[in-house]
């Protein structure tokens, strides 16, 4: 199952996220950054990885729905496994950027890594829900609209769901995003389970 989920995840969005990570150091210096600067980069740019990978996670199945959803399989299981792999991919790409920054004498923090992973996953999951019930384009549109609005208004309208809260609130400030992400995952898992019922 994992082998095939990896195969299904071999798609343009994942490769685009990889490419952005590879090219990032060519456009932004990750050398000698203190934690505040790395936080700024992380919450402003690194989170885009999840925004690219997650919204079209289950889009292929929409086209294949009559073939896939007629099987007696528990589709929520497939969704959870694929999401788990996708989050690992996001984590690995973030880790790559962090390690590169660390090798270039930047200040690192495991809390910041976890915070960015949570933020990236949350904003990506918003797009995933939207894509599942409308289409892929709407999914990406919602994700990027949320990101842009949060960036431009400095989180004024998003309260605890702002994407840029680590500097002022630390890892704890990401708890609402974590809870919201888990709620979205539970909701989608129930939705995929019901497709079989």
């Amino acid at each position: 199952m994992i082998k095939y989920q990896l195969k299904i995840l071999n798609k343009a969005s994942v490769w685009l996220a990889c490419l952005i990570c590879i090219l990032f150091p060519f456009f932004f210096s990750l050398k000698y950054l203190n934690l505040g600067e790395l936080t700024l980069y992380g919450e402003k740019y690194f989170i885009i990885i999840g925004m690219i990978i997650l919204p079209d996670l289950m889009v292929t199945e929409i086209e294949l729905s009559d073939v896939i959803y007629q099987t007696p399989s528990i589709h929520s299981k497939t969704f959870i496994i694929r999401l788990f792999i996708a989050v690992i991919i996001i984590g690995v790409l973030l880790m790559g950027l962090f390690l590169y920054a660390g090798m270039n004498h930047s200040e690192l923090s495991i809390d910041l890594f976890i915070a960015i992973l949570i933020t990236s996953t949350f904003v990506g999951l918003l797009g995933l829900v939207m894509a599942q019930f409308t289409n892929q384009a709407s999914g990406f549109l919602l994700t990027f609209s949320y990101y842009t609005l949060d960036l431009m208004t400095k989180g004024r309208y998003f309260s605890v769901f702002t994407l840029r809260s680590f500097e002022s609130g630390g890892l704890e400030s990401k708890m609402p995003l974590l809870v919201a992400s888990l709620s979205i995952v539970c909701f989608l898992a129930c939705y995929f389970y019901r497709l079989r019922k």
């Binding site: 195969k7 073939v67 007629q70 099987t71 007696p72 399989s73 019922k197």
Partner: protein
């Protein structure tokens, strides 16, 4: 084995099925009708993918609301079949077997190879799904549909858009399968039904116009099919007067096959399934024209 009782299906703007009742037994069962007649709606309903607005559908004695049990025994090959393009043919079979809850790797392998041999795709097992032709994709879909050893197989327009050789291959495959299970073969191509089904239902605009034996249906058009060799200049007049089924150039004349009753021209011939179908459709269309 399948009982459909007074089923209606309404969408926002259309009434796709209007009181459909059918009983389908083991063997090959043809579902014939023009595009948009409601065939796909009916098939997806039997598969439990599209619940009826009202009415009752029972498959192997179980109502279709028992989705879990239904998915174990019914397979559906949709008209627009596709699969993950980056997988190879073998991987597509193996992944489908996983989705059908076959956990043992050896069993999955054995089944996949067996079915690929059955549909004559074993030589293509390392090819990517995206590189297969339309006919090969349908055969792959058919092999995937058989993984869970269904008791009912529903195939929606499996021969549409295929070349004659591929159509024949798929028809023969389905005919062989129908020896042991129920195969519901939906199509708008009359020839496919003529060569492969004993039982059929004709559906048009959500109504069942006929359901029963193919031979009895053909008999309904007895005494109604005529052929005549006419001058090309008379073709238009005949077209206006009768329901023309076919026209074949024959030296300096045109051989016309048409539907009519008690005529004083041409020669009466035995009807084919296509003649009977066209005759029924003509009657249906005439009935719908207001006086």
């Amino acid at each position: 084995m399948i009982k459909i009782d007074n089923v209606h299906k309404k969408y926002k703007l259309t009434h796709a099925l209007k009181g459909v009742s059918l009983e389908i037994e083991k063997g090959m069962y043809g579902l014939l009708g023009p595009n948009g007649a409601g065939k796909t709606t009916l098939m997806r309903m039997i598969m439990g993918l599209n619940p009826p607005t009202s009415g009752h559908v029972e498959v192997l004695g179980q109502p279709i609301s028992q989705i879990k049990a239904l998915r174990e025994v019914v397979s559906y090959l949709p008209q627009e079949y596709s699969f993950y393009n980056k997988m190879t043919v073998y991987e597509a079979m193996d992944y489908m077997a996983i989705l059908c809850n076959i956990k043992d790797k050896k069993e999955r392998r054995k089944k996949s190879i067996e079915l690929l041999k059955l549909v004559n795709l074993i030589g293509e097992k390392h090819k990517k799904v995206k590189s297969l032709s339309g006919g090969m994709k349908r055969r792959l879909g058919l092999a995937q549909s058989l993984i869970k050893e269904p008791k009912v197989l529903i195939v929606d327009e499996p021969t549409a858009g295929l070349d004659p050789e591929e159509r024949l291959r798929i028809r023969n495959l389905l005919t062989n399968l129908a020896k042991d299970i129920v195969v519901i073969f939906s199509t708008h191509i009359v020839e496919d039904i003529a060569y492969s089904c004993d039982q059929l239902a004709i559906i048009s605009e959500g109504h069942i116009l006929y359901a029963g034996k193919k031979d009895n249906f053909i008999k309904q058009a007895d005494q109604m099919v005529w052929v005549d060799d006419v001058c090309p200049c008379d073709v238009e007049a005949i077209r206006d007067q009768y329901h023309v089924i076919s026209m074949t150039p024959n030296k300096d004349k045109v051989s016309i096959r048409f539907i009519g009753e008690n005529l004083d021209r041409g020669q009466r011939v035995n009807p084919t399934l296509e003649d009977a179908y066209m005759s029924l459709m003509k009657r249906e269309n005439n009935d719908q024209i207001p006086a």
